[in-house]
């Protein structure tokens, strides 16, 4: 039976070749689009690890040449004034690498017996509360940490799992940066759940929070958690307050939620564009397939008539046509799979292999489904052919 179908396909190889090509290219395009979307969406659905709603930020400019005591006083005052505002729930300072800022500070070495590369965040003692971080082990920084012998740090869960799996980490020491600014060893005082600070679509990297007191010159980004229901008109008040304390007005208050949306838009835009283009391509291919199948089948009416006369039932006929087209499709998909398999094998892009497998499955599924739908109606038509009529026609 199958062999017979193959003969039929082979006899019409020219026509089927074009069909095969179309299936093959559809598969490849769908595979690429699915791989892109699936890998992005899997990252998107992993937790962010901090709050964006009601968090406002302002990046202050602190001249390098300024006097550190003066700055410390200014920042202490600013923090007091901010906390005194009825609209502000809590405030804190951080370094330049904060959520959606696009800034990265990273370091790594292999002096601890394992190789790692981690992003570093400089945060003060109020940050965990202000940003709503989830601390799963140990504690966040406290003011007393200033006098600690070693630099206190918190690491992210991902860091812990990758480098300290199965070992207790609290109060353990490790080398964060060889000959760096953090002394010889840093001490882990806690573990933070997630911190996907590069953006919703950016794969979380290893992260280390380093204690930077709120009076330090290095922490110049103000984070403010506003109370629920605070409207934008509080911005003017806040702006005046910061300007009067810092004696400068070259800053802009930005909402973290807005930044999140802007940041994600740069991924949503190509994703939506790709999805609509491939969606259109699929409809286009489906209509084309339908037209071609319908036309071909109506051209084979005499053959169908003959088969019906010698005893084939209607469902035999539709089965034959559906199997024929499914065979061509399967060949197209198989060849496509061969090329698609090169992506995970060669590691062409920096995404996890599992995404490719999902993409293969879903694109093969979509194409098979599409072909089945397109073949169904024409082959039903074929099955309903009245043998007497067709044989008479010829």
């Amino acid at each position: 039976m199958i062999k017979h179908i193959f003969t039929l396909i082979w006899n019409k190889k020219k026509k089927n070749f074009l069909l095969f090509l179309e299936i093959f290219f559809s598969f490849m395009i769908l595979f690429a689009v699915f791989a892109f979307i699936i890998s992005n969406m899997r990252v998107y659905y992993s937790p962010l690890g901090f709050d964006t709603e009601n968090i406002w930020t302002a990046t202050l400019r602190i001249p390098e040449s300024s006097d550190s005591t003066e700055i410390a006083q200014m920042k202490t005052l600013l923090l007091q004034e901010l906390n005194a505002m009825p609209e502000v729930e809590s405030a804190s300072f951080s370094g330049g690498a904060f959520p959606f800022s696009g800034n990265t500070w990273s370091t790594g070495n292999d002096d601890n017996g394992f190789d790692f590369q981690t992003c570093i965040f400089f945060n003060d003692e109020h940050y965990a509360k202000t940003a709503g971080l989830n601390i799963i082990e140990g504690r966040w920084f406290e003011e007393e940490d200033k006098n600690s012998k070693y630099f206190p740090v918190l690491i992210t869960k991902k860091f812990r799992e990758q480098c300290f799996a199965g070992k207790p980490v609290l109060d353990s020491l490790f080398i964060l940066e060889d000959e760096g600014d953090f002394g010889e060893f840093v001490k882990i005082i806690g573990v933070v759940g997630h911190y996907k600070y590069h953006g919703e679509f950016a794969e979380e990297r290893l992260g280390t929070f380093v204690y930077t007191p709120s009076t330090s010159m290095e922490s110049y980004v103000t984070h403010m958690r506003m109370k629920d229901g605070v409207k934008s008109d509080a911005e003017e008040k806040l702006n005046k307050l910061i300007a009067s304390v810092t004696k400068r007005a070259d800053f802009s208050i930005r909402k973290l939620e807005q930044r999140r949306m802007q940041n994600s838009q740069s991924t949503w835009t190509p994703m939506i564009a790709l999805m609509s283009i491939s969606g259109f391509l699929i409809i286009n291919v489906a209509l084309g397939l339908f037209g071609v199948l319908w036309y071909n089948i109506s051209k084979r009416r005499p053959e169908i008539g003959l088969r019906r006369t010698v005893g084939a039932t209607g469902s035999d006929i539709s089965f034959q046509f559906i199997t024929e087209i499914i065979m061509v499709t399967l060949i197209g998909i198989l060849v496509g799979l061969f090329f698609a398999a090169q992506f995970p094998i060669m590691k062409l892009f920096d995404i996890e292999n599992i995404n490719y497998y999902y993409a293969m499955l879903s694109s093969a599924g979509v194409i098979l489904l599409l072909v089945l739908i397109c073949a169904f109606y024409p082959s039903r038509q074929a099955a309903m052919v009245n043998p007497a009529m067709v044989l008479h026609e010829d």
Binding site: L18, I29, E64, D250, T269, F280, L281, L287, G288, G291
Partner: protein, 448 residues
């Protein structure tokens, strides 16, 4: 004759409405998307104001100072002597193990002491677009993005001034408190809708300083943030600590204007030569300087591809784009070819008769390709209308984050060429097959 073919083509289209619909659907959507892509590239890279001189520009966005560390790896020779393994160091290998580096835009000091007299360069501008200001007007918040720059900026970038003009280097040296506003900023700050001349001479307060408006520029459609700022200010108005910084790293990027577009290559070479001879201020920390000058196109590709070098990014970007477009083009073409080939039989008797009366294969081929081009152009017109509607939707929804797509005559010409190419490509193979049909078979096969 063409008129005949045309009438015939229209008649055939009317005959099988369903197939016509399928063909037109595919054609119009394909062409619509291609037209949108063309509009996008025209907006971004087409050289509309203020990028009229884009072919002469060389960009230096950031510089990198670094020190290279090397690992010393002893090479050990092992041999078995008297049943004991013996090791012997035979030499040392040096391997780059890491670099301590700092990468970023440059300081005024760097640009003004080391990057002034580059051969083949006609003009040069430095600019910084990082700061934004919050302004409150009747408790409405306006956030103005800013570009701090010099007078050459307005020579190199040919902005469309709606009123007034830019500042010159004279005003820069005098620390003049003048500002050039964008159309939108002017509208929102002064509540002026069309008479932009009335804004000239008015004052605007930014960072506690009063600036006089000397020019208003038209909207910039592309996505380059330093050109899309709301306010343009002479950089001498920056705080002293930024102006006088002795370090190489600072907030400024630089654009060079080459003498002509053919000299761009020379400018890049001269810049790279220069990087080898500039003395570094703090050689204990970093002892080498590196940067990658990029042409306009290379810079665009570089920011998208994020590779090490701009030239490499450019090559990959072009390759990737060509690949994707071919792939995208391939499907609808194949689809159309498939459909057309299926419909051959319908016309075989007609071909048979024409051939019997002396038509050459060439005539038949031409006729069918022509018919397909007619079909494509009908699809093209629909596609153009759809593209226009979609374009307005995209612009209205801020889908591209501030980039405003627009159609101009160039997009129209490109679209025309795309239609023609698509028509020929998808019509040729079926027409070829059709023209080769044997007369006898063709006539016998079907009743007229």
């Amino acid at each position: 004759m063409l008129k005949n073919y045309f009438t015939l083509a229209i008649k055939v289209l009317g005959r099988r409405k369903f197939f016509t619909f399928i063909s037109l659907f595919g054609i119009s959507f394909t062409l619509m998307i291609l037209m949108l892509i063309t509009a996008f590239f025209q907006t971004e890279l087409g050289g509309d104001a203020p990028l009229g001189k884009k072919d002469q520009l060389v960009y230096l966005d950031y510089i990198e100072t670094f020190k290279q560390y090397q690992d010393t790896i002893p090479e050990v020779d092992s041999m078995l002597m008297d049943g004991v393994m013996r090791y012997d160091t035979t030499g040392y290998k040096y391997e780059d193990s890491g670099r301590s580096m700092s990468r970023g835009p440059g300081s005024i000091k760097f640009w003004n002491t080391h990057m002034m007299d580059i051969p083949f360069v006609k003009d040069r501008t430095i600019y910084m677009a990082q700061r934004s200001f919050d302004l409150f007007i009747n408790s409405n918040k306006l956030t103005f993005s800013s570009t701090f720059t010099d007078g050459s900026f307005f020579n190199i970038y040919d902005f469309n001034f709606l009123a007034g003009g830019g500042f010159g280097n004279q005003q820069l040296d005098n620390q003049a408190q003048v500002v050039v506003l964008s159309k939108e900023a002017c509208k929102s700050y002064f509540a002026i809708d069309d008479n932009f001349d009335s804004a000239i001479g008015k004052e605007i307060t930014l960072d506690r300083k009063n600036y006089t408006v000397i020019g208003v520029i038209d909207r910039v459609n592309n996505s380059f943030s330093f050109l899309k700022s709301d306010v343009f200010i002479p950089y001498t108005n920056l705080p002293a600590e930024t102006l006088n910084s002795e370090r190489f790293n600072g907030p400024f990027s630089c654009t060079f204007l080459a003498e002509s577009s053919s000299k761009v290559k020379n400018v890049k070479e001269e810049l790279i030569k220069k990087s080898k001879v500039i003395p570094l201020p703090n050689p204990e920390q970093h002892d080498q300087l590196e940067y990658f000058p990029a042409t306009f196109g290379e810079r665009y590709a570089w920011t998208m591809m994020l590779m090490d070098k701009p030239e490499e990014s450019y090559k990959y970007a072009i390759g990737a784009l060509a690949f994707l477009l071919t792939l995208f083009f391939m499907l609808p073409t194949l689809n159309l070819i498939n459909l057309n080939i299926s419909r051959i039989m319908e016309r075989s008797s007609e071909i048979g008769v024409r051939k019997a009366f002396g038509a050459h294969s060439g005539n038949i081929l031409f006729q069918f390709v022509f018919e397909n081009i007619v079909l494509t152009f009908i699809g093209g017109v629909i596609g153009f209308i759809l593209a226009y509607l979609l374009l307005n939707t995209i612009n209205g929804s801020n889908f591209l984050n501030g980039t405003i797509l627009s159609f101009n005559y160039k997009v129209f010409i490109y679209s025309f060429l795309i239609c023609l190419g698509f028509g020929i490509l998808s019509g040729f193979l079926p027409a070829l097959r059709m023209s080769r049909v044997h007369i006898v078979n063709a006539i016998k096969n079907n009743q007229l």
